[in-house]
Structure formats: structure tokens, C-alpha cells
Symmetry: C2
Subunit: 604 residues, 2 copies
């Protein structure tokens, strides 16, 4: 399998050169090949890291080689003992002023690099994160470019141990990727292979902080995480496309007068589970587009040395990465369950989609840890309220906090819930009240840190509320723009309302507990939601067709565009290798003796 | 892989004969082998089906053969086109009075049997469900014992096509089971191979209903589903055992004065996610024990021709099957995520545990479809209130419906939530009020069926509320019994309170919306929950050690009893076949040409 992946990756690269694709086109092509490979890390992490943290002259050496694929890289940060806590990494890079080199070493078992994709077998080089020891002092963790395998025969260089870490979740899935383990035994590399944009070590062995602010590092994170949010929308739209199409094909129960049975998509329970997932796929697409804009905005500001929006942008992408990946993983699995029995077959496409997707909840920041960062940011925002500090971006609404703490929703009948202002105010009030309440509870504790530790989990709910507010508000903003296509805007309006009211129903407890809405209003919201589902139902198929996936790309017999599910599912069975023989291998050895009661005499 | 499974199954059987194990002991042994095999269906479904539906004299023919494993059976109900809707099955069994035979046939593509475990390769016989056509009339679906493969060479008998249906979710997982496809082309079987306990076809071709009531059929379902609930507790306790132990080994962040970092189990967010899962594993064990009792009770009543408790017992097991399997599947995946990166490795044991477990949400009744049955039963119960009809079992509390609709919880301070009466009343009030409210809403609709269809999904929430009430109340009942072991009862009391208050917090919206509790009381419940987590924390490891699983059975490097995670994870990597060679297969063909920029000239 791994060899086949190598073949595909090489083939893709060949096409990229041949067609002289631009960086963006090439990334599209890799997207459509749709199989994880070492090259993904090369492009997705290694190059952004060098771009973000390398010095100008260094970039000039490594980037062209990387772009031309004359070296293959991985991003080697996580170790056996440390993932989330990057500052706790144990690999050391000790500067030796005599030879002007760093000595890379793995002093403990837990310092072994563990997980980097592409590291196990393919990479020639890695950006390796290690603790800088200069002149006896520990200067914290930084990236180094290290050659791992020889250009001659691809064997590991002296002092380097490298291997694949073994089977992961799923069948094909992530196992096309050679996540690896790496150990150094005093390996020497030239000083200038340290990524020196933010701080430098001089020839004399002096550690110097450069005038480039550390925050630059956050720029790369914003970039990588916004691509993850965009991927969430892709993955969820694939899953809902399969489940929705199959729900229209599948009929079960309810046949009258010998007519056909009911399409399962017509059951309210099915709609109730499926439609929120469909609209979420749309919501994530729009928030993804907005994040892309945010990244550009932040980058431009960084270039103008304006760091004012960075903390908010960072919190916001961290939170949205967490929210979108968690819900998307759940959505894929829910779609699989909505296809019931046949969803459990690999040919439904859903099992592998789930398994390849789900680590997005873990890599680039464990989702819980990210929410804690958002929560810290929110607590800080609350503590600065009234201090005159400018509130930017998604926290701007906190400027009206007085109002939000007191306002009463003016929803009086179900249709009032269709008004964007009503929705927005309810979400803002809930988020603001939760933030303020928890900040207040924390302040009652002996120390802020203790309070934060004690109330950790309430704080996570607050962070989620804030992130949901962002998604809802960006969906509403999107609808304020001109949207081409006859009737499209009206449809999107329905989706937007479903998204908001679905969340409102799901988190009813929080809306009620904060007093953002009343019991009566909660019940009106549920009524309105039912009406909206009924409006969306006739267009369900059109809504998922609009994602415009080819059958080949979807890779699902259940999600076929033409709906010819059964005639295609049946012959698929015969591709199973077990069916190569009618009587299974092992019959004579194990089954027959059991049937003939001759087991006692058989050696197993 | 499949062959290896055959080997293990044969070996297990050999031990069973050699040691002369009883039926119960044998089932224990298969449990510990812990790999799915065709034999599971043989014992788990086939034999109960014959016991439940076969005639006495028939049982005498087939059961001894089956017990001795002189034939291997599968349970062939589901078809390509029909799973949930058993009455819609299309396979036909046409009675031919001339030859006193049934002719089994698969008239359509969708009538192909599809999914039965053990059917694909191993089974010699199957209980095949088919539509009886007798004298031109359709008498509905019934089971037939059909020989599928020859005793001589295991080849399919004439007119029979049988094969494996192909790859399923996961890597090893369920793929050790040969779920199969089966088609009949006018295959003749003797009349007496129809399972005739409930209805019979005479030699003359007359269809006769026997005096054994149809409800008997439900007895088998209650049996099979209660074993599924027991399994839910096993699976969830395995998962939480792994995640809890690893959470105590894993340290991340929070090191002070160069001391060790914080064990992640000490983070409130981790506790908040993990502890509810631990207590749920306990709760399901107790409700499982109670269901076992219920099955015995129902069986005894059936033998005495007392069917009065059957509908309630049936609804109750259906609901609990749905609730426990859905939450257990989610719990396993949550445990995997709580182990973050390393949880994604197969060596953590969690990926395969999930994948093997999750179809329990689908087989033996799709979980949503089951909840709808519960809901129908609840609506019926509500409609009969005041009619004088006796309320039995778990609906007995509805006898106090007047009170439950009006009562106000008397909780005034956080500790009041420790009182079983307070908890029970809140759960009873919520469930009763939801049932009554939805029954009322349905009655406003033009017809009951329409109302039911329209409000389907609210009704599902009502069913869940009822099932949670059952679990909570059985936990509380358990604690009223004497429990051996010093301090054990006190610990279980904490777990019981955590379980109840966790659910209360999670479904806060429903408790508030029904007015079962007030805002203030909801907030007190959350405060008390925090206190309970702190009390449970020091005993977390003891609580999972108490499940008493061996390392071998757990099959998880992260969940090792001795906590030696890293030294065992590291060498595991080297077992990966990719590591058999240092330079990967495919290097010369694909990687080297890419690096050397010679791709243009290479044929891929
Ligand atoms: C498929 C896959 C691909 C990967 N690819 C790469 C790669 O290319 N390069 C690379 O360097 N790494 C890679 N990784 C590693 C990944 O980045 C880490 O697994 C991730 O950062 C999470 O860290 P961890 O596993 O140490 O989790 P841990 O931090 O150990 O988390 C364990 C548990 O502790 C909790 N926790 C931790 N800290 C706190 C806290 N302060 N407060 C509360 N709770 C806390 C977490 O929420 C979690 O529940 C990959 C991982 C996977 C699964
Ligand atoms: C691993 C595995 C092992 C199995 N082993 C066996 C076996 O040994 N023998 C055997 O006979 N079968 C077996 N099965 C088949 C299994 O019993 C069926 O898949 C199961 O009964 C569900 O039926 P379905 O797949 O037809 O779902 P469907 O009924 O097609 O469900 C599709 C969707 O429609 C919804 N839906 C259906 N009806 C309604 C309704 N009335 N109202 C609202 N919503 C509805 C469902 O909730 C679901 O979301 C197995 C399946 C699996 C996955």
C-alpha cells in the first residue's frame, strides 16, 4: 500500500512539472488525488515553517530546493513524551563554538520524535524542533533543518535512527502516511541550519533576540489552521452528500396500497439529524472563506508592523479549528450511522473518510487545549472591559456588553426567529453573559490561575459559545452580500436560519440559564425549526449536488449521483479477495474437522 | 487474517470439548478470545432463534447438532433492500404441496440476503427469513432452516450463490467476520424446516396459526438485546480503563521548579470528559444486571401464559439497547480522543475497540428505529392514563402523573442534590412532562399517525429521557441493596450522583424547559457535580482497576496496569512491516527519480 502511495505522489509531482502548474494549481491537484502522502506535510507544514521562521538568506537556499522537490521534508515537532506542550520538548541542540555546529541529541526515551508525517520512510530532511543549549544556558525550543537520509541510497545518516511508528486507526486511511520515529545520537549540523528569523546564535556562540517579534510565529499558525477549517467544510460536505443521496434512494416502511415504501429522507428523525449537518457544511465553508480573508489581513498588518489584531485573530482561528474539526468528525460518523447497515461497508466511502479526517481533532493543537486558549483570551477581554482598550474583530460586540447583559429578546412568535437581528442578539447575549459570569466566578477564587484551573470546563463551554457566535455571524454577514444565482440567496437564508436555530435548540440549556431567551422563546424556536426543515426538504438533493463532487472523488457506492446504489453494491462484493475461492482457505484445516468432530485428533 | 480467525475459533471449540465446559462457561471462553468469528452468530443468534421459534420436536433434531457444532449456522434475515423493515423482506418460500417442500427463491436483486455474519464462508446452514407463499396467499415472513453448503466439500449446494460482502470499517476489526451475501434460485427444502412454533403449514398446504402467541417472538428479542446491553458495559469499561490509566501516566504542562509536569487526569477538562464515562460504565453494568433479571421474569411469566409485562419489557430493552450502544460507541471514541495523539495508534487498542463495537448501534435494530418504538409505547401509556389500566415496570411512576406534572423540586442548596429522592423526582418529572406534552401535541394534529410522523424527533428526545430515567433509577435501587466491601457503597454512591448530575447538566435545557427544575437548581447541580468530581478523582485508578481486566485482554499499550507506557510503545513501532527494510520498497522507482529530477524520463 505504501509503495502505491509513493507511486501516486511521484506521478502527481510529474504532472505538476509537466503542466507547469502554479503553487495554487498544484495544491488543487494534490487535493483531488485525495490520498494522504508524505508530500502533504512537505507542502502543508515544512514550506510554511521555513517561510515563516527562516532568515531571508536561508530561505533563498532551502525554498527553491523544496519547491523543486530536490529534498523531501517533514515537520518534526512532537515527541513520545510531548505534543501539546511544545516548550517541554526534550531533544537538545547544543552549540559547539569550536566547530560552529549544533549537536542534535535525544537524551531520553521520551525525547524520541514520534508522529511526524513523512518522517518514517520518505523524508530526506526535517524541520526538527529542539531545545537550544548555548554556552550552558537553555534558550528554549526552536526549529532546525536537519538532513536525515543520504542522497546516495536513502539510508539514515550516521547517528540517526528513523522508522515508521506502525499501524494507525483504520484500514487504508492514514496508513498511506509514514508517520515516523526519530532519534539522534550526537549528530552535528552547521550553525546556520537553525531557523533564525526570531532569534539568532552568532558565530561566537552568543544568543541574540532579533527585532522581529515573536508573534510572527502566530502568523504561520493562523495560516495552517485556516486551511484546516477549509478542509472541515470539504470533509463534511462529502459526508452529507453521501448520506443525503442515499437517504433519498433508501426506502423503508410505510408502503401503502402496495406502492413504494417511504424514502427515509422523508422521516423527520432522519431530517433532524441530517439537515443540521448539511447546513453546517455550508456554514463552515463561509467561515472558512472569512478566515482566509482574516489571514490576508493579518499578514498585511504584520508586514506593516501592526500587531494589534493578532491575539484576536489567533484566538479566533484556534477556536474555529477546534469547533469545526470536532463537529466535522462527529458529522461524518453520524452520516455513516444514517446510512445504517450499508454505511459500515468500506464501499460506502464513509469509514475511511472518518478515519482519515478524525486526527484533525488532534494535530495542530489538541482541540480541548485550543479551547482553553480561546477561554484565556476571552477572560482577558472581559477583564479589560471599560479600560478603554479597543475591542477588535469578533470581540467587538463586547463593546456593547452593558446592553448584552440586560437585553431581552423581543421574539414573540415563531417567525420572529427568522430575523437576523433576533438571532444575532441571542447568540451575542449568551456568549457575553457566559464570559462575564465565568470571569466573575474566577475572580472569586483565591488566584486567577487557581480559578481558571478549577473552572476549566465551564470555561470551555464559554469558548464554544463564542466560536458558534462567530460562525453564525459570518453566515449572516455572507447573506448581506450580493449572491449570484436566482433563488440561491433565499435558499441560503433558510440554511442560515436552520443552522442558528439548530444550535439554539441544542444548547437550549445555556440560552435559558443565561436568560438570553425565555422558555416560551425556546419553544417558538423549535417550532420555527420544524417549519424550516420542511422548507429545506424538497431541495435537499440540490443542496448537496451543489458541492459538485464527481462520483470518482466521492468514492462511495451509496452516494452515487445517479442513485444506482444496489446494482453497484452487489458486484462490489465480488471484489473481496476472500471470494477468490468458493471454499475458504482454512476449510480443510479448521472447519471440516470441527464439523466432523475430529478436532480431538487434530493439531491446531 | 480470516484463516487465522478460523484457527482461533476451532481452537476455542476444541478447548470447550476437551474441558467439557457448560454452555455458560463456553460463552465466557469465547468472550475472552475477544475476536469476532462466525461462531458468535451461531451461538448468539441461531440457537436462541431455534429455541424461541422452533417446534419441540424440531428443536430435538437441530439443537443437539448445533450444540455439538456438527453444523454451523448463521442468522440470515437482512437483505440488500430491507433491514429495519423485516415485514418488507422479499425472499420467497413458496409451498409446493405436491412434493411437500418449500421453494426458496430470490426474485429481485434487493432480495439478496446481505450482512448475515458467518454466512459468507463458514456456515453450513442458515435460519433464513422468507415470505411464505402458500396456496397463492402471502402469509408474511418466517424463519426456515436451510442447508447452504455441502458437508462433503463445503461447496454451495445447487441453486445457491453465497459469498462474502467485502471490506468493512476498520483494519482487523469486524473483518474477521465473514458477513455474507446469499441468493436462491428455486432451492427446495422439506416443509418441516420451517420454524413452526407460532404458525404452521400442514401437509395439505393449509396455513394454521398455532395457539402459541406471537409475542413469544419478543421473548427472543428481549434476550438478545439484554446481552447487548451487558456488552455495552464491557466495551465502555475497557475504553475508560485505558483512557484513565493513560491519563494518570501522561503528563503535560504545569511543571513548577523543574518538578514533573501535571498528570493530565488532574486537569478539570479531562475529568469533565472522562469521569462521566467511567460512571456510565458502572451504570450500564447495573442496568444490565437488572435486564437479565427482567428477562428471567418475562420468561417465567411467558411460561405461565402471562403476557401482561411483555410490552413494557420489550420497549424497555429496545430503548436501553439504543441508549447504551449509542453512548458507548461515542464513549470509546471520546476515550480515544482523550489519549490525543497516541490514541490514534492501533497499539492503543482503542481504534479497533471502537470499530468492532460501533455496529451494535445498527444491528438488532437501528437505534433510531428502536427509540421510535419506545416513543410509541410511551404515547400509548399516556393515552391510557386514567383508564384504570395497570401501569407496570418502569412506567409505574406514571401512576403519579398528576403529582409529577406539578411538583417543584425542593433542592435549595448544592448538597440537596445528593438525595436520591431529589434526583429521582427531577428525572421522573422531566420524563413524564415530556411524554405528556408530546402526547398533547400529537393530539392536536389531524390524525395520531400524522402527529407522530410530524413530531417524530421530539418524540425521540422523550424516549431518551425515559431510558435515562430507567438507568438512574436502577442505579439508585442497586445502592439500596447491601453491597459487600468496605467503603464500596460510599464510592458507588458518588458515582451514582455523578451519573445523574452529569445527565442533568447535559440535558439542562429539557429539565428547565419542562420546569422540572429551576435555573437556580440547575446551577446548584453544576456546583455539586464539581465537588463530586473532586471526590472521585483520587479513586479514579482504583475504579477502573476494579473492572479487573488483564493487560492481555485490554490489548492496549496505553492502558497497561504497570503504567510502563513509553518503554513499551517505542519497541512496538519496530513490529511494523514497513520497517523490515530501512529503505522503503519503492524508493528506487519513485522517490529517487523525484529527488534527482529525473521524473520526466521515468515511466510511472
Ligand atoms: C495523524 C497524526 C499526524 C500527526 N502529524 C504530526 C506531524 O507531522 N508533526 C508533528 O510534529 N506532530 C504530528 N502529530 C502529533 C500531534 O501534533 C500531537 O499528537 C498533538 O499536538 C497533541 O499532542 P499530544 O498527543 O501530546 O496530546 P496531550 O497533550 O498528551 O493530550 C492528552 C490529553 O491531555 C489533555 N491536556 C493536555 N494539556 C492540557 C492542559 N494544559 N489542560 C487541559 N488538558 C490538557 C488533552 O486535552 C488530551 O485530552 C500528529 C498526530 C497525529 C495523530
Ligand atoms: C456488522 C453488522 C452485522 C450484521 N449482522 C447481521 C446478521 O448476522 N444477520 C442479519 O440478518 N443482519 C445483520 N446485519 C444487518 C442489520 O441487522 C441491519 O443493518 C439493521 O437492521 C439496520 O437495517 P438497515 O441497514 O436496513 O437500515 P435502514 O432501515 O435502511 O436505515 C437507514 C436509515 O433510515 C432510518 N429509518 C428506517 N426506518 C425508519 C422509520 N420507520 N422511521 C424513521 N427512520 C427510519 C434509520 O434510522 C437510518 O437512519 C448486520 C449489520 C452490520 C452492520
Amino acid at each position: 500500500m505504501y509503495k502505491n502511495t509513493l507511486r501516486k505522489a511521484a506521478h502527481t509531482w510529474k504532472r505538476i512539472i509537466k503542466l507547469r502548474l502554479s503553487e495554487q494549481e498544484a495544491s488543487m491537484l494534490r487535493f483531488y488525488v485525495d490520498e494522504l502522502a508524505f508530500t502533504d506535510l512537505h507542502w502543508g507544514m515544512f514550506i510554511p515553517a521555513i517561510k515563516g521562521q527562516g532568515m531571508e538568506q536561508r530561505q533563498q537556499k532551502w525554498l527553491p530546493l523544496a519547491y523543486k522537490m530536490q529534498l523531501i521534508r517533514c515537520y518534526a515537532q512532537t515527541e513520545l513524551g510531548h505534543g501539546s506542550n511544545v516548550q517541554g520538548l526534550e531533544t537538545t541542540a547544543t552549540f559547539d563554538p569550536k566547530s560552529d555546529e549544533f549537536i542534535m541529541n535525544s537524551p531520553t526515551l521520551t525525547s524520541s520524535k514520534w508522529w511526524p508525517g513523512g518522517l518514517g520512510k520518505a523524508s530526506t530532511h526535517g524541520v526538527v524542533y529542539a531545545r537550544r543549549l548555548v554556552d550552558g544556558k537553555d534558550h528554549g525550543v526552536n526549529g532546525f533543518i536537519v538532513q536525515l537520509q543520504s542522497f546516495d541510497d536513502h539510508s539514515p545518516l550516521p547517528g540517526i535512527t528513523v522508522a515508521d511508528i506502525g499501524m494507525k486507526f483504520g484500514n487504508g486511511a492514514y496508513n498511506t502516511m509514514d508517520n515516523g520515529v526519530l532519534r539522534f545520537d550526537h549528530v552535528r549540523i552547521p550553525r546556520d541550519q537553525m531557523l533564525m528569523r526570531v532569534s539568532q546564535v552568532t558565530r561566537e556562540g552568543k544568543y541574540v533576540q532579533s527585532d522581529v517579534p515573536r508573534q510572527l510565529f502566530y502568523g504561520t499558525m493562523v495560516y495552517v489552521r485556516q486551511t484546516i477549517v477549509a478542509n472541515a467544510s470539504c470533509a463534511s460536505s462529502r459526508a452529507v452528500c453521501i448520506a443525503t443521496r442515499y437517504s433519498a434512494v433508501r426506502r423503508q416502511f410505510g408502503s401503502q396500497d402496495d406502492g413504494p415504501e417511504t424514502q427515509v429522507i422523508d422521516y423527520k428523525t432522519q431530517q433532524n439529524k441530517l439537515f443540521p449537518l448539511v447546513v453546517t457544511a455550508y456554514a463552515y465553508r463561509f467561515v472558512g472563506e472569512w478566515l482566509k480573508w482574516l489571514y490576508t489581513d493579518v499578514t498585511q498588518r504584520l508586514q506593516a508592523n501592526d500587531f494589534s489584531t493578532l491575539p484576536e485573530a489567533h484566538a479566533c482561528t484556534a477556536g474555529l479549528k477546534s469547533l469545526t474539526t470536532s463537529t466535522t468528525a462527529d458529522a461524518i460518523e453520524e452520516c455513516r450511522k444514517l446510512c445504517s447497515g450499508h454505511g459500515y461497508l468500506c464501499s460506502s466511502g464513509l469509514p475511511e473518510l472518518f478515519v482519515v479526517y478524525v486526527p484533525a481533532c488532534t494535530y495542530e493543537g489538541d482541540n480541548v487545549v485550543l479551547l482553553l486558549q480561546v477561554a484565556r483570551f476571552l477572560m482577558k477581554t472581559v477583564s479589560q472591559l471599560g479600560s478603554g482598550k479597543q475591542l477588535v474583530g469578533t470581540t467587538a460586540c463586547m463593546g456593547r456588553v452593558e446592553h448584552l447583559l440586560q437585553c431581552c429578546s423581543d421574539v414573540q412568535q415563531a417567525e420572529d426567529w427568522l430575523k437576523p437581528t433576533a438571532i444575532l442578539e441571542a447568540f451575542e447575549a449568551r456568549a457575553a453573559r457566559m464570559s462575564v459570569a465565568y470571569a466573575r466566578n474566577i475572580s472569586k477564587m483565591p488566584s486567577q490561575e487557581e480559578g481558571f484551573a478549577e473552572l476549566f470546563s465551564d470555561v470551555v463551554e464559554t469558548a464554544v459559545a463564542h466560536c458558534q457566535l462567530i460562525v453564525v455571524s459570518k453566515f449572516i454577514e455572507k447573506l448581506k452580500q450580493g449572491i449570484p444565482g436566482k433563488g440561491v440567496k433565499e435558499q441560503l437564508q433558510i440554511l442560515c436560519n436552520i443552522y442558528a436555530l439548530f444550535l439554539l435548540h441544542k444548547h437550549q440549556g445555556e440560552f435559558l440559564a443565561t436568560g438570553a431567551i425565555t422558555l416560551k422563546q425556546a419553544s417558538l424556536a423549535s417550532d420555527q425549526l420544524r417549519v424550516l426543515y420542511a422548507q429545506a426538504c424538497p431541495n435537499a438533493i440540490a443542496l448537496v449536488d451543489a458541492f459538485n463532487y464527481t462520483d470518482h472523488y466521492l468514492g462511495s457506492v451509496l452516494g452515487r449521483y445517479d442513485g444506482n446504489v444496489y446494482p453497484n453494491l452487489y458486484p462490489k462484493a465480488w471484489e473481496e479477495p476472500l471470494n477468490d475461492t468458493v471454499v475458504p482457505d482454512g476449510y480443510h484445516e479448521y472447519i471440516r474437522p470441527m464439523l466432523k468432530q475430529q478436532l480431538r485428533t487434530v493439531r491446531l
